[in-house]
């Protein structure tokens, strides 16, 4: 690696790669969650409650994040409301000048807590909904009554005039209902809806065959986005996370490794993305031992895939090299065994056949629910 991690603010001198300031930070406050969604982005091996960072440490990390240039913090988990000090942590983030986004399952955020969060300056709430039909939604979440409780929280969020995003993870069980799901988000009073096709990491990778839609289903679903955007223009913002197993080109995962975002686990390890620990051989530093800036600039794991020098062909001479950075490192490792490889989602990858073979494997086995 030639990246020396110096913060120069100037790009490209002497072959040195620019070190960007992160824009967003995912703060995984806890891995505890009442739901069991089979596509959960948490790792298979989760942090235990007794290892979770305390309130004061989170407050320090949030101040350090703001100093580092982070603009938005996503308070997530697990279910962040599983922490009794959620309001204090949110207030610390807001006090540091950060834009605060609460990402919740909807379970555990009481009306009183919501009011406290709103009063302390929470900027935005994102609620996940598993499907438009209560029975199906509860089955996917592995939690009876989840759907109704989510709808109730959404009403409370709208009532206190906080902006609401509805996040819907799309997979074989609900992919036929894109129009209805967007209509549901509108009815809930959301100003934004995420139609997020499953990304196959962690629990989703484990449940891949049970979640994987067919190419026809994906093409139909993706084809609905633009007409729906036109139809609801000015009423709701529709953001789509594309299903990359059927894509021609890979996604620019997290905007590039160690480039625009970072993730802090419940126990305080700092990662370039939530799945980064699936790549062996990388040592991730903890906020218990280092400042966030030290980690961002000097942790070798952050520098491991910064820039594009490590990329092989066909990426190196590809016109999309600086657009998608060769795709996702975790996916490259999961599917080829080599984290430096071209993301095999790319049709130009010599390993692309692996993606096609895996996408063809579908079975209706029971989900393996995510449990701590």
């Amino acid at each position: 690696m030639t990246t020396d991690g110096r913060l120069s603010g100037h790009a490209g001198h002497n072959g040195r790669k620019p070190l960007h300031n992160p824009l967003g930070m995912l703060a995984e406050l806890t891995h505890r969650c009442p739901l069991g969604c089979p596509y959960c982005s948490n790792p298979l091996e989760m942090d235990k409650r007794e290892d979770e960072l305390d309130t004061a440490t989170w407050a320090r990390v949030l101040r350090e994040a703001a100093d580092l240039g982070v603009l938005q913090v996503h308070l997530s988990g697990g279910e962040p409301a599983s922490r009794r000090d959620l309001v204090d942590i949110m207030a610390a983030a807001r006090g540091a000048g950060l834009y605060t986004n609460l990402i919740t399952s909807g379970i555990g955020v009481t009306d009183q807590r919501l009011n406290e969060l709103a009063d302390a300056g929470l900027d935005h709430v994102q609620i996940s909904i598993q499907d438009g039909e209560p029975k199906s939604a509860d089955r996917i979440a592995g939690y009876e009554g989840a759907y109704a409780r989510k709808r109730a929280l959404a009403r409370a969020v709208v009532a206190v005039k906080l902006p609401l995003t509805v996040n819907i993870v799309i997979h074989r069980a609900n992919i036929a209902r894109i129009d209805e799901l967007v209509a549901m988000a509108l009815e809930m009073g959301a100003s934004r809806v995420e139609i997020a096709h499953v990304q196959y990491y962690g629990w989703a990778l484990k449940n891949r065959a049970a979640l994987m839609p067919t190419r026809d289903q994906v093409e139909r679903a993706v084809g609905r986005i633009e007409p729906l955007r036109k139809e609801h223009h000015g009423r709701i913002v529709i953001d789509a996370v594309v299903p990359d197993y059927y894509a021609r080109f890979p996604k620019p995962c997290v905007g590039g490794w160690g480039r625009r975002s970072l993730n802090v686990t419940p126990a305080g390890r700092v990662l370039p993305c939530h799945a980064a620990e699936s790549i062996p051989g990388l040592e991730f530093w903890s906020v218990k031992d280092h400042s966030l800036r030290e980690i961002w600039e000097h942790n070798p794991a952050f520098n491991a895939f910064r820039g594009t020098d490590f990329l092989p062909e066909p990426c190196q001479s590809c016109e999309r090299r600086d657009v998608d950075f060769g795709g996702c490192r975790c996916q490259a490792f999961a599917l080829t065994g080599n984290a430096q490889a071209t993301d095999p989602v790319c049709h130009l990858s010599p390993h692309h056949h692996v993606v096609e073979e895996q996408a063809a494997i579908r079975d209706d086995a029971e989900y393996v629910y995510r449990r701590l």
Partner: protein, 98 residues
């Protein structure tokens, strides 16, 4: 636009303001003004920032245009066209209330 916009159109007496969840902040590390919104960050150039700063809900659209034309000594018609496009675009993205 070939579909009806659900966001209302700007009128001379509209009093544009940032809705809850949208904030204009100055950030040294990111090199200037940024508009923060749910899951989104927009860099605002100096002119856009001057326009958005005036969207307080107190001042009506006509007065904002007058003020900008005066402050920047620009032809009012030109300012009107530019500001209309900017603010309508923000409203359509749910970043502004009219």
């Amino acid at each position: 636009m070939n579909t009806p916009a659900a966001a209302p159109s700007i009128l001379p007496d509209s009093r544009p303001r940032l809705p809850r969840g949208v904030r204009l902040v100055h950030n040294e590390a990111q090199g200037g003004w940024v508009l923060l919104a749910p899951e989104r960050v927009f860099k605002a150039d100096a002119i856009a920032a001057e326009v958005v700063k005036r969207c307080t809900g107190e001042t009506n659209f006509e007065a904002i245009v007058d003020d900008l034309a005066r402050t920047f000594r620009a032809p009012r018609e030109r300012v009107l066209a530019d500001v209309t496009a900017l603010l309508q675009g923000l409203a359509d993205k749910k970043l502004l209330e009219l």
